[in-house]
């Protein structure tokens, strides 16, 4: 399981720090797949059959539908990231520190304060904190949506690890909220990109 979480955090890092927005969006697919995998395994090991349904929903929503909509969105804009608030090498260095040290630190906190949580709590909490770092440091709209994805995925794992027997209605309700929120993010970003493209075309025409 530990290996799955480390790979999950690696893809989280790639999604957060890759300068190519397309590559960053594609990284969300393995991230979603690893959530699916960890839920299936945790459901089997800890005998939580409700995890199987949630895992299937996650596969559809977090691994396929949401990343795909981001990739489609990228068709109408430049695929390079806008300059972030902190320089890229520093951002990479901070990310590595946050993900590695944070992972170990949270694991210690988990053992001390949350002994009854499932194993993916640490990965979820690390992803949540890393998502917050991205949220504060990135300026690009797509990168901000990706940071929202990462925060959401982190919270999702925290929630399931702490309350594995929580009602499915709540979990589905939260997933619907996630889909609606991402839907509006995509709507706004698409409109924004279209406006930018139109402005650019006008500018080029004027100059020529």
């Amino acid at each position: 399981m530990e290996v799955i979480y480390i790979i999950f955090l690696f893809f989280t890092f790639v999604a957060g720090e890759s300068r190519s927005l397309k590559f960053a969006s594609y990284s969300l697919i393995p991230q979603g797949l690893l959530i699916f995998l960890s839920l299936i395994i945790a459901g089997y090991i800890n005998n939580h059959p409700n995890f199987y349904i949630i895992a299937v929903v996650d596969l559809l929503v977090r691994a396929l539908l949401m990343p795909a909509s981001l990739i489609i969105l990228l068709r109408v804009r430049f695929q390079r990231e806008e300059k972030p608030a902190i320089i890229h090498p520093l951002s990479i260095a901070l990310s590595i520190v946050l993900l590695s040290v944070g992972y170990k630190f949270i694991d210690t906190i988990k053992i001390m304060n949350f002994p009854n949580t499932l194993s993916f709590f640490t990965a979820g909490a690390t992803a949540f904190i890393y998502g917050m770092f991205l949220f504060l440091s990135k300026r690009d709209m797509i990168k901000m949506i990706i940071s929202f994805f990462i925060i959401e995925n982190g919270i999702h794992l925290i929630l399931l690890s702490m309350l594995p027997n929580m009602g499915k209605a709540v979990e589905f309700g939260l997933t619907i909220n996630f889909i609606v929120a991402v839907g509006f993010f995509i709507y706004i970003t698409t409109k924004f990109n279209l406006l930018s493209v139109r402005e650019l075309i006008k500018k080029i025409k004027r100059e020529s």
Binding site: F148, I151, M162, L174
Partner: protein
């Protein structure tokens, strides 16, 4: 489901169902607005029936199906957002047909989304389980982004994006708070059992939960330091939607704050002090930042942040007087912002600009709007005979009573700064004349816009002179808050 329960559910079912009908019918502006008014009227009727049941039978709360929890505070919030919605619809009728005519194929979506948002708000005000409550709470926020970005220009889209991102990430913290309590108590946390649930938490965990709730609900309410979404969203949204944001959407943050953070504050002094510190920051910086604004809506938005700090600082105190005054100010805030933003909306309707300098250049001649602006500005400053005078003064007394003299001082000073900032702009717009400019008052103001603006001003005066009119509603809402704290 018996008939009574069906009537109670109409407060959220009617807006949601009619919202779907409006969306499917794709009717014109008038049909969509008419259907919206019908649905809000049904919602008001339903809320009134619940109020009647609770007040006549002397009940503390209603719990139909065990899934819901409706008390005096829920009813106050429902009435407030429903009345605001009625005027928002009326104002929108004229505003969007002129200023947003390029979106005329989406007018049905505008009203439909407005109804969804109202429906989800009313649902959130009625639910007991915090997990279930969180879902419509978040949905109501998400839908509003469509309305903020309705103009579809770069600024409005950017404002919508910031709003969506900040509010969504912010309220995820409140979800973490709910998860933490649930984990430590092992039972589902509800509004009715939250005060018992938090006794299971050790002090550090309780403080962590309270901090999560504060981040979540302060972001939703637009209080400092989580306010970054508020000024651009207020400025870029259609003026009617700005009133909806100020009078309904941000009030959801206070609903969450009252249902969770006040319970923690009742048991832990640290939480109370943290909220008071952040509120004081909002009160003071909101007023200071308002002073140099050149955009009329941003100016009112910053004053609004300052005013909301008053409310948070009152609601967090323990005494009956403080909570009563906080709720009264919550209601007054809706009235003040309604009057000011509708008046600003009327000026934008006439002159097509939000910039104070540009509006001033037209030499506005709209006496009703000028009066509304003056009333709104004086009410923000807590001047008599407006109802905000009573609520502001009561909050100051309550703060002094509980030995928070510093906060009371900051509040008085900031009220004065906000008043000066608003009066300066009003005088500059309506009275200062420049030689070079020629007056242009060819556009006439539709009566409905004037009625919307004046109505809120009249209620501000009426409640200032005769506050007993709504006393019972505020009294029951206050008792409801005290009831869940114990």
């Amino acid at each position: 489901m018996n008939f009574d329960n069906f009537i109670y559910c109409l407060s959220f079912v009617a807006p949601l169902v009619i919202g779907i009908i409006i969306f499917v019918l794709r009717g014109n502006l008038k049909l969509s607005a008419a259907l919206s008014i019908i649905s809000v009227s049904i919602a008001i009727f339903s809320t009134y029936k619940i109020w009647q049941k609770i007040s006549q039978e002397g009940l503390k709360y209603l719990q139909p199906h065990k899934l819901f929890y409706i008390d005096g505070f829920s009813i106050l919030m429902q009435f407030m957002v429903e009345f605001v919605s009625i005027f928002v619809i009326l104002f929108s009728l004229k505003e969007i047909s002129k200023l947003y005519s390029h979106r005329n194929d989406k007018f049905h979506a505008y009203f439909s989304i407005l109804m969804f948002s109202l429906g989800f708000m009313n649902l959130a005000f009625s639910l007991d389980n915090l997990f279930f409550l969180y879902i419509p709470f978040e949905l109501s926020s998400i839908f509003v982004v469509y309305l903020i970005s309705f103009n579809l220009d770069k600024n409005s889209l950017r404002a919508g994006f910031i709003y969506l991102l900040m509010v969504n990430v912010g309220i995820l913290f409140s979800l973490l708070g709910i998860v933490l309590i649930n984990y430590h108590t092992g039972t589902e946390v509800t509004i009715s059992n939250i005060s018992q649930s938090i006794t299971f938490l050790n002090k550090n965990m309780a403080l962590l939960c309270a901090a999560f709730f504060i981040i979540g609900f302060f972001t939703k309410a637009g209080l400092l330091p989580f306010h970054l979404w508020l000024p651009p969203a207020y400025a870029e949204a259609p003026s009617a939607i700005t009133v909806f944001l100020a009078g309904a959407v941000t009030k959801m943050g206070f609903y969450g704050l009252v249902r969770t953070v006040t319970v923690f504050a009742f048991n832990m002094e640290e939480v109370k002090i943290l909220v008071l510190l952040l509120s004081s920051l909002s009160i003071f910086l909101g007023a200071i930042l308002a002073f140099n604004q050149k955009d009329i809506k941003k100016l009112i938005a910053y004053c609004s942040i300052s005013e909301m700090g008053f409310i948070a600082s009152a609601l967090i105190l323990d005494s009956y007087t403080a909570k009563f005054a906080g709720l009264f100010h919550l209601f007054n805030h809706t009235l003040m912002k309604g009057a000011l933003f509708f008046a600003a909306g009327a000026l934008i309707y006439l002159y097509g600009s939000r910039k104070i300098e540009e509006i001033r250049a037209f030499h506005p001649k709209a006496p009703a709007i000028m009066i509304t602006f003056f009333i709104g500005a004086l009410a923000v400053g807590g001047m008599p005979p407006f109802s905000s005078f009573l609520s502001s003064l009561s909050i100051i007394f309550a703060l002094v009573d509980e030995k928070f003299v510093g906060v009371a001082f900051i509040m008085s000073l900031s009220g004065l700064i906000s008043l000066l900032a608003l009066l300066r702009s009003v005088i500059s717009i309506f009275w200062l004349r420049e030689e070079n400019h020629t007056a242009n008052n060819n556009v006439s103001l539709p009566v409905i816009l004037v009625i919307c603006a004046l109505f809120f001003s009249i209620v501000l005066i009426a409640l200032g002179i005769y506050p007993e009119f709504l006393h019972n509603l505020f009294h029951r809402a206050t008792l409801a808050i005290i009831n869940i704290n114990h």
